[in-house]
């Protein structure tokens, strides 16, 4: 696992039913592209987050494929409609097989 990976998400505490809300996510990750070389000229192996998903109460909201050109500490912002109270679950998939998870609940105001 890449060192010191830390996810961070921002979800409003409450929303109106049917309202589109903005979700912001950030994860600290080097996103090593696999195209750089070290001082000895050896290729530094690729190590990136290759997939990001968000589910709301078990239903998929977004499923994104991340490519090596995405820079360090990827920030992903998107909108979702909230039909009911529940929990957003965020998942990041690392090249090395690690999975980082974070969840936030939201209420209906």
């Amino acid at each position: 696992m890449a060192d010191n990976v830390k996810p961070r998400v921002k979800v409003p505490k409450s929303a109106k039913a049917g309202e589109a809300i903005v979700l912001k996510t950030l994860i600290s990750h080097p996103m090593e592209s696999g195209q750089r070389k070290d001082k000895e000229g050896a290729v530094i192996p690729r190590s990136i987050i290759n997939r990001f998903t968000c589910d709301f109460n078990g239903k998929n909201v977004i499923d994104a494929t991340l490519e090596p050109a995405i820079s360090t500490n990827p920030y992903i912002e998107f909108e979702a409609v909230v039909p009911e109270a529940g929990e957003f679950k965020f998942t990041w998939y690392d090249d090395d097989g690690s999975v980082y998870e974070e969840s936030k609940s939201i209420e209906i105001a």
Binding site: N4, L26, S71, T72, N73
Partner: protein, 286 residues
């Protein structure tokens, strides 16, 4: 924003020609930094000891683009805050032979409030000029039985971000008299000494030319109140001394080492030039 600025500059040059040389075309932007409803003091009256060297103190935040300024105004959009979260994990993690974490002695990181504005300072016990890196490593080696961290490594910058954030909004107020006086004098001498093949002193850029462009970037007054800060170019945290290395290197000089007596003194002197500006916790710059 940018294309308009260039157009204005070109038009002005066409009108006044060389008469404009030396006039600032990248003046700091008039704006207010408000984070979570709290205004952070980003301009201040210059302290008396500067003797008129700067007409007014202006944080580097004012010299950056609209998007960069907005990023710092929101604690989620500020990419530096993720390192604060990481620092908090480290704060609570046991390390070293004594089986202690930072929290074992200091409890919550809130106990560090008020430290950042007065750093660097001469430590009453050792008589040495200490910055946050020195205090953290002193704790690690003498109390925790752990290895000292690299002063610009990730663990250290995360911890510095966490500690600085506790004093966000408090005004920088480093002591320059008494035991700090010789360090202040040394720092001042370094600040005004020209280094490198380009023969540039700190003052040449940050005192004489703040508000002008250096190649494509604005020159600020070079205050340290925003450090450690997230630099978009580096996609990571940069410490004040890390920035000193960059600046001196750019004059094509051999730099002093991080943690050297010279850079510690310079850190004190530069901090004292910003006495009165608020600690920004984790600033964002490009």
């Amino acid at each position: 924003m940018k294309p308009r600025r260039i157009k204005t500059a070109l038009a002005a040059t066409a009108l006044f020609g060389l008469a404009l040389t030396g006039m600032a075309i990248a003046d700091p932007v008039d704006d207010k930094l408000v984070i979570d409803g709290v205004e952070i003091k980003t301009t201040a009256e210059a302290p008396a000891h500067l003797d008129g060297a700067l007409p007014e103190l202006i944080s580097g935040w004012h010299f950056r683009d609209t998007e960069t300024r907005a990023m710092q105004a929101d604690d989620f959009d500020n990419p530096g805050m993720i390192f604060v979260d990481r620092g908090l994990d480290t704060w609570n993690a046991v390390d070293g032979t004594e089986g202690k974490s930072c929290a074992s002695c200091h409890e919550g990181p809130e106990s560090m409030a008020g430290l950042r504005p007065v750093i660097p300072r001469v430590d009453a016990e050792t008589g040495k000029l200490m910055n946050i890196e020195a205090y953290v490593n002193n704790c690690r080696t003498t109390r925790m039985g752990a290895e000292a961290w690299n002063p610009k490594g990730g663990d250290m910058t995360d911890m510095m971000a966490l500690i600085s954030l506790q004093s966000r909004g408090e005004l920088v107020n480093v002591a320059i008299d008494g035991p700090a006086a010789p360090f202040y004098e040394l720092g001042k001498e370094i600040y005004y000494t020209r280094y490198g093949q380009l023969e540039l002193s700190c003052a040449n850029c940050h005192e004489d030319n703040n508000g002008n462009y250096i190649r494509s970037d604005h020159l600020s007054q070079g205050h340290t109140n925003g450090f450690p800060l997230y630099r978009l170019k580096d996609a990571g945290l940069v410490t004040a001394q890390g920035r000193f290395v960059g600046c001196v290197r750019d004059t094509r000089a051999e730099t002093f080492a991080i943690g050297s007596d010279e850079f510690n003194a310079l850190e004190l002197y530069v901090a004292s030039r910003g006495n009165g500006l608020a600690v920004e916790g984790v600033g964002v710059r490009h």
